[in-house]
Amino acid sequence: MTRVPIRLILREAVAAAKSQRVASLATMLVVAALAGAVLLTAGRVAGIEHRVLSTIDSAASRTVVFRLEGGAGVDPSVVQRLATVADIEWLAAVGPAQDGVNAALPEGKRVPMRMVWSTDLSVFSPAAATPSPVDSPRVFLSDQAVSEFGLLEAAGAVRPLTGVALPVAGRSIVPEYLEQFEPLTLIVPVDPLERVPATSADGRGALSMIVARFADPYRIEGLLPTVVELIGADSRDKVQVGRSGSLAELRDVLSGQLSASNFTIVLGIFSVLVLVQAGILFALVLLRRRDFGRRRALGASQRLIVTMLVAQTAFLAVAGAVTGAVIAALVLAIGGDPLPALTYFLAVVVLAVLAAVAAAVLPAIVAARREPISELRVP
């Protein structure tokens, strides 16, 4: 049996599509319109969902605070231990408060100071992530702490009551989970991860808080027991886990509802696409009965006819879906609406092509079954 190379089938499909301009244009318009409709409705919702969820994710739903009650016996090496957990994006450990004063005002107001160890100190201050120019811990102050120490700027030096004066290296932002520690004064060790000081007589430090930001909010619940285990507190009762439960719940609700809404819209629009496309192709098959009869008579197998019609439809559907996607993207961009992810665009294009191809199969089979004698004989 002759096997017609796919290259020749595709070339014939493209040539046939070009020669049947009205039908081809109708197919392209239908696919473009419906792919565009999906992107302008479900795609727009997906873009908004993506933006809302990103906002929630970046805010707090991925961040978990572990409060360590006094005597939990957790030292700063916990940062290195937890850093081995692949799902933890960032973490910090905060030490217990120790009073300090402005080095220039030994009798000034006492302000609590805390050591901080972190995998990325730039979260608190961009300057904190750079190597220290002096072989000494540095201090970063919140706006409120600057004021409490009686400083005009985040400069000068502060001194723990039991230690030496430390240089003030800059201002620190105050993340939501550290607001309770205001006025916030963070002491950054010279080498945050390697030279972890022991802060108690028995060599075990006494951290007061560990903050971890996870990569995937959906995996947090499953990972918490492991993380608590790795923290290695004397007793699990001394580790209080806190996360923004309301945000996490909001995220789940939003994600679920918007996804369900999107699915309904997409299903509806693609159902319309299949019906309209099948209608167009049935009309084309009826109008071009002699064409298919002639092809059959000249040696086209039923399988070849089906393949050619499906390939012709796929070619037009690709052109239509890409056109529709580009136009929809322009409309969304001009309107200031959030764009869905590129993968969403690709998925819509692929689905539109698959829907059009699915719609083409039945008319193509009908076309392939035309009997040459009934189409070609002249009464």
Partner: protein, 210 residues
């Protein structure tokens, strides 16, 4: 050799229009299928051309009963070994003249470009003196039938089947068509023509009356 063996066919089971037809068609001969309208000339032609399956009996190419093949292999035999001329040319109005001529190449699994020069020469030989990029709607009926003839001949088929190929043609074009078919028969092809045209019939090697 093309053999029809005990062929029976009817559009309604109880009314066969062809019953127990048997004949052998040899290379080098031009055979006319004749008879009044409704006797099944065209139907027999389409059965011999493997476009219709007989209700019983068989069509053989040599010893192979090709009418019993499934659709794919039968289509392949049609494309590779048969050439067809239809009553009204049956050209694709949306494609160019040259595309129409080259259509069969696709069904043989060949790149049409391989035949392009040959097709242009054949069109010129048959007096189709026009821009080959024109479409069938822009040519006369006589020219359309010549184009259809070129399409049937271009792949040098072993069997050429023609259904009333001169039905709507003037005498000069009819003569050109017969001369072309005769030449192919002389070159070894088997030519079978369903026709009402008495002038055509008498020029054939033999007539099969239905």
């Amino acid at each position: 050799m093309l053999t029809a063996h005990e062929i029976r066919f009817g559009y309604f089971a109880d009314r066969p229009i062809i019953d127990s037809f048997s004949d052998d068609f040899y290379p080098g001969e031009v055979v006319a299928l004749t008879g009044p309208s409704g006797r099944g000339k065209s139907t027999l032609l389409y059965i011999l051309g493997l476009m219709l399956r007989p209700d019983s009996g068989s069509v053989r190419l040599g010893e192979e009963p090709v009418s019993a093949l499934s659709d794919g292999p039968r289509a392949a035999v049609r494309a590779a070994r048969f050439g067809f001329v239809f009553q009204d040319a049956a050209l694709d109005a949306t494609r160019t003249v040259i595309d129409n001529v080259l259509e069969v190449a696709l069904y043989r699994g060949l790149d049409a470009d391989e035949w392009r020069d040959h097709a242009q020469r054949l069109l010129a030989d048959f007096g189709v003196d026009l821009d080959p990029w024109r479409r069938p709607g822009q040519v006369s009926g006589g020219q359309a039938q010549r184009i259809a003839l070129v399409r049937a001949l271009i792949g040098d088929p072993e069997f050429i089947l023609a259904d009333e190929p001169t039905g709507n043609l003037d005498a000069a074009t009819s003569d050109l068509v017969f001369t072309a078919l005769r030449a192919r028969a002389d070159a070894g092809a088997t030519v079978i023509v369903a026709t009402h045209d008495p002038a055509f019939m008498v020029r054939c090697d033999r007539q099969v009356q239905l």
